[in-house]
Symmetry: C2
Subunit: 254 residues, 2 copies
């Protein structure tokens, strides 16, 4: 592994846990049409460490999607202590990005390939009044939602399925079988949380699951229709893709 | 009262309860240097009702201060039902303002003069890591805070006092005696809430109390100094004015 040793320089592997308000970003991954979170963190790291840094993220979050537990790693020859990197990052990063942990990782750790799964949370504001305080992080749905019907529908999704019908049409993935470990739907005052944990996510899968569950909750689709969507494998029968602002990458499981 | 009856037109008195993220506004009250919340709501009401509307707010919140329970009232000849006004406001107001209640009020109700008191909450993020999700609504204080010392200092403030030392120097108020009914300091994970309830607030009083309590919490000032500040009535001894972003008008008491 050339990266681990170049001449006599030992390369450390540093793991970051990152939170961001994704509203102003084109997503995690570098894009031509705007600033990505990856770019913002790499630029700040470069100033702190004085080396060009290449960050590997656990998952690409889409434009406008948030994270409380995005994980990324990078190799560096620097001797800076993790605690010092953390402090320097938090004082220099833009206000909408913060680092909650900086740790020394084993040389084999790879934020994307070492991940065993991810947990996303989708937040719905289900109330007759909007709330400016959660508007950046919740999708506003004023219609009443039948949570027990939504839970019924969710139960059909848990397990190993071909989720072709739940990825967006732009996607080119051939292997569309994914294992959904858990979908939990909880209410907390006017907020409804939909937590989805899976070994892997297809393009827009989380937001398509949520869009479909909302259709069920509003009574526009029977819970059992989800079974037909899965067996038909056709995107046209599932609900609309729920807006990005409600989605947050909560945790990457290693 | 000319306003109540002009000719044969009966004027209704409508009470609004308003929430806003104050980040983008110059405060509640109309100002020359930017957009106020009052202006934004009046403009939207005018479009809905088709009359020029004059809103009376319970309290002027400063630039950057938020509200979950600001109250305002206006007189109108319109027959629109409160529920319809509420729906129309929430669909037309900017995203950072929402109306949580619209009610018919008695003709004598005056949002400012009928108020018996107000409750403000100041939120501090007290953690070694910043949090982009609360950055608009919390002041970030990474140093550890001794809450029991802060509570001791707060106890000296509760009651009826001349609070001249706790208003900012720009203020021209002659009568600076105010009744502080309650100061509660609670911790919820990394967030510290300081709730202040008083019959009336002087200019920047809430933020000066918080700034002083933070100095005590950080060990830069003994709790008992607060007594000296009150008796000295001199602004110079109290802590710095805490930043606007942490302050929120929670409730107006009638």
């Amino acid at each position: 592994m050339v990266l681990e040793r170049s001449g006599t320089i030992f390369m450390r592997n540093i793991k970051l846990t990152i939170r961001y308000d994704g509203t102003a970003y084109v997503g995690w991954q570098r894009q031509k049409n705007g600033v990505s979170v990856q770019e913002a963190v790499e630029k700040t790291l470069r100033k702190i460490i004085g080396e060009k840094i290449c960050l590997i993220g656990a998952g690409r979050t889409d434009s406008g999607v948030h994270a409380r537990g995005q994980v990324a790693n990078f190799k560096t020859a620097s001797h800076l202590a993790p605690e010092r990197i953390k402090r320097a990052l938090n004082s220099r990063l833009p206000e909408d990005i913060a680092v909650s942990a900086v740790e020394e990782a084993g040389t084999d750790f790879h934020a994307q390939f070492s991940a065993l799964g991810k947990r996303y949370r989708y937040t719905i504001l289900n109330s007759d009044a909007k709330d400016p305080f959660v508007r950046r992080f919740a999708y506003y749905c004023p219609q009443s939602l039948d949570l027990s019907e939504m839970r019924k529908a969710a139960r059909h999704l848990v397990g190993k399925h071909d989720l072709k019908a739940l990825q967006n049409s732009g996607s080119v993935r051939k292997d569309t079988v994914r294992m959904i470990r858990k979908i939990a739907i909880e209410k907390n005052g006017p907020l409804v949380y939909i937590d989805i944990e899976a070994a892997g996510f297809l393009y827009n899968m989380a937001r398509n699951i949520v869009g479909t569950l909302i259709e069920v909750g509003r009574g526009k689709m029977p819970a059992v229709r989800v079974k037909e969507i899965l067996s038909g494998k056709d995107r046209r029968y599932c609900g609309p893709t729920a807006p990005a602002r409600g989605l947050c990458l909560i945790k990457v499981i290693y």
